[in-house]
Amino acid sequence: MLVPARLYASGPLLEQMDDGVFEQVTNVACLPGIVRASLCMPDGHWGYGFPIGGVAAFRADSGVISPGGIGFDINCGMRLIRTDLREDEVRPRLQEVIAALFGSVPAGVGAKGFVRLSGSEFKKVMVEGAGWCVARGYAWPEDLAHIEGRGCLPGADPEQVSARALERGTEQLGTLGSGNHYLEIQVVRPGAIHDERTARVLGVDGPGQVFVMLHCGSRGFGHQVGTDYLKVFDRAMPQYGLSVRDRELACAPFRSKEGQAYFGAMIAAANTAFANRQVITHRIREVFSRVFGRDARALGLSVVYDVCHNTAKLERHVVDGREAELVVHRKGATRAFGPGEPDVPAAYREIGQPVIIGGSMETGSALLVGTARAMAETWGSTAHGAGRTMSRAQAKRRVSGESLITDMEQRGIIVRAASQSGVAEEAGFAYKDLTAVVDTLHRLDISRRVVSLAPIGNIKG
């Protein structure tokens, strides 16, 4: 190991982590150019290459970049949209809203979106990200300020993207995907606001308020970029004298030809993911406007924040008392910049960057903010979810999708899903206790809890 491995967890959460986490966080600690420590967040679990919840920074001038430290779903991320609606206004029309959203936001295997793109237009999406959506009428100009990196990360290079990636992703803009991706209607319950002043800054008015949360990424386009470059790096490693303990950690020097090509393609995919979540936001606004008979602006459907949890980004951090340029890999980990950081939107600079943590479809999610401690200790990073404790197969053995949907409906949560088995795989008991994860982040001060959000409707792939 070149650096120590450091896990952030409470005793009980550490007990729940599978052996794969410890092996994988150790493997990452052996990668060339890694700085300070190989980190894993409290929601960590066995992944491929990096653990899920893994964070590692490499010196840009002498370190590596590894697609296995980002994942195939490049810029998988979370978006939270507020509304002025109250639960008592939405509840009577909830079935209608969920059905309309299920019809407007394609989900599941093989789904296609409504946006049709030429090759040249798709390349604009790769470079402009969510900004591309403004001119097309899929975004409000003010949305951009509330997206990590304004929805457009610098350095996208469409020329480094394969023709196959273009073919695979060109019809998927505005689609949700499958697995743990979802679109959820949520509500603030009494007692769920932990920090009223910060909550107000984030657009949280009080108990009963309805929110919409979105979890998805770059779809087949990003998956193909990851597939293409995993093979490139697997072949290239010997020429740089590199070897890794897990082939999925294939890497190349960041400043090498291969490293720069992947970075350009990966950023192109990241920007496309921002556009994907933006197009879905447009569909959400259309649905709410149609069902409630008012313009989306009149309903207050503004973006609270949109944050990535599968990326590598060039960032400047203090290392041994001096500022250094680092390639910060976050795989199933969220950026959590603290108060005063220039990259935090002006509206939130005083409170810190919003952090959106998705729990399970049964138990809810959380909104937190980044901290100065995160900047000092974790490269401004925190957890991204509750973290699985159970395999998909184990979950399916315990419950069927049909019975879970019926049970959840009796508890007031309406679910529509493209795959019934996919619902069973995402049952609440398959995940760690989100409250325990959020409490741990709060106690360790790598993010600060603001509000908990409870689900009332969910759409899954």
């Binding site: 295997v109 093989g110 789904a111 998956h223 193909q224 995993l230 996919g422």
Partner: protein
């Protein structure tokens, strides 16, 4: 056809599958059936599409990687899944695969959907000769 088994508790969020075939051709055919089963219930797929696929790789294991990646690619580009394949593997580095595949287009409301694979990973990826044939282990990101 050979046999495949989803290793249900090997990974938490993803899908691991072990595939065995009496020959390399058999293993690749079985691998296609396995990934199709992961994506849909083949009984709910109308078999209407036939196509020829060729793949080439410098290493034998990467031929399997590319073959499964092709199945995932076709699922996204064309919304098509191919449970049935007749495969011929030739060469000694580079290796070549020629296949005739049979499958169908995903029909919303009729096709029972399973997982939506993102990619084949190289995590614990293995293809090796065993007594009486070949065996592979693959972790798929879903």
């Amino acid at each position: 056809m050979g046999r495949y088994e989803f290793l249900e508790d090997m990974v938490l969020a993803d899908c691991a599958v072990e595939i065995e075939g009496r020959s390399l051709d058999d293993l690749f055919e079985t691998a296609a059936a396995a990934i199709a089963r992961l994506m849909v219930d083949p009984a709910t797929l109308t078999i209407t599409v036939e196509r020829a696929i060729s793949v080439e790789a410098s290493e034998l294991d990467m031929l399997l990687y590319d073959w499964l990646s092709e199945m995932i690619f076709l699922k996204d580009r064309d919304s098509q899944v191919f449970p049935h394949a007749r495969v011929r593997v030739t060469g000694n580095g580079p290796y070549r695969l020629a296949a005739d595949v049979h499958g169908g287009t995903i029909e919303p409301g009729r096709t029972a959907l399973g997982a939506d694979p993102k990619a084949v990973t190289l995590h614990q990826f293995a293809l090796e000769p065993v007594d009486g044939g070949w065996r592979a282990r693959v972790v798929i990101d879903i």
